[in-house]
């Protein structure tokens, strides 16, 4: 599976890693909904580290759309909350 960390780059991930990312992602969502910033920061950091450590960076001359796009590493807790309320991180 191809995963992009927004503003950083694309990685190819094995399925079992994707599952771990998914599990962390769900926990991160729960943390955002619970308003637990520290927990969110920790989990989001774990997601990024996992992708960077286990993923193989996609060569620059390869052209693929990503299956999943992870928000930028500098995403703030506030932005993550907006992501759910519908404003999103991306300006039009």
């Amino acid at each position: 599976m191809i995963v992009r960390i927004a503003t950083e780059g694309q990685y190819r991930l094995a399925d079992d890693v994707v599952e771990r990312v998914n599990a962390l992602d769900n926990e991160a969502v729960a943390a955002v909904e619970a308003g637990d910033e520290a927990r969110f920061t920790d989990l989001f950091g774990q997601i990024l580290s996992l992708i960077r450590a286990e993923g193989a960076p996609l060569p620059e001359d390869e052209l693929h759309g990503s299956d999943v796009i992870v928000p930028p590493p500098d995403t703030s807790f506030e932005e993550a909350r907006h992501e759910f309320s519908g404003d999103g991180l991306i300006p039009d």
């Binding site: 927004a6 780059g9 620059e60 992501e83």
Partner: protein
């Protein structure tokens, strides 16, 4: 994947398809990409200029705060020499607050440098992707039937479109950050213009009274400090702390070297 990443993917993908829809035929995407690349390049140049300006401004403020540190250090010595330990403590508290502010500025300068570098990197990556798209398109056209080529070129175009969207996003975020820092720098400048720069140094919670006392102390020092120094030297026999300071490293009226000595 439904969570944060799933939601984010959906938003980005919607944006990419909007981006690519503007090129009616996937093979036109190359031309569109070049055009978009040129726009981005202009933005990067403008953005980099903004980043450098913001950085310079912060560095200038950092210099001013460093002077403030020296000044407060001098004032603390003067207060101590005058036997006013409480006043000296207040000056030192402010000095520490200013030093905190300084650290914050340094962090921001470093962050801006990081932004600058990643903007350059992202731009280079997009360029590689567009080159890859150009050569791939020719290969696909030569190897596949028209219909299949259309599909494959479309896939590659999605890759380029995603990269464009991502560079755009990175750029936007870098500029937003620079804007925030500029706003902050401006706020500090305005405070200073309004004569409230001293207030910035009052983060330690000083009162106006103390500030006035400090001012009186330093403005009167041309003559007074000499006097104090003498008094301290005279009193040195008594072993007071003012005496110790006064005889050892009483600051020059200009106050410059005192900070250097303490650092």
């Amino acid at each position: 994947m439904a969570g944060l990443t799933g939601r984010f993917s959906t938003v980005v993908k919607a944006k990419i398809s909007k981006l690519l829809d503007r090129a009616e035929d996937p093979s036109e995407t190359l031309e569109y990409s070049y055009q978009k690349q040129m726009e981005l390049l202009q933005n990067v140049k403008k953005g980099l200029a903004d980043v450098v300006t913001a950085k310079k401004r912060l560095q200038l403020q950092s210099q001013k705060l460093e002077q403030q540190v020296v000044k407060l250090d001098t004032q603390a010595r003067q207060a101590l020499a005058a036997g006013n330990e409480e006043l000296a403590r207040t000056a030192l508290e402010r000095k520490s607050a200013v030093q905190n502010e300084l650290q914050g500025l340094d962090t921001q300068v470093a962050e801006l440098e990081g932004q600058q570098q990643s903007m350059i990197d992202n731009q280079a990556k997009l360029q590689s992707k567009i080159e890859a798209f150009r050569s791939k398109k020719e290969v696909i056209k030569a190897q596949y039937s028209a219909a299949e080529a259309q599909v494959r070129i479309g896939e590659a175009a999605t890759g380029v479109g995603e990269e464009m969207a991502d560079v755009g996003l990175a750029m936007q975020r870098a500029l937003d950050k620079t804007e925030n820092m500029r706003a902050r720098a401006q706020a500090v400048d305005e405070l200073e213009k309004a004569g409230a720069f001293e207030d910035l140094t009052q983060l330690g919670g000083g009162e106006d009274d103390i500030d006035r006392q400090l001012k009186e102390l330093s403005s009167g020092t041309q003559v007074d400090s000499e006097l104090e120094k003498m008094k301290a030297e005279l009193a040195a026999g008594g072993g007071t702390s003012a005496g110790e300071l006064g005889s050892g490293d009483a600051p020059a009226p200009g106050g410059g070297p005192a900070g250097g000595e303490s650092a």
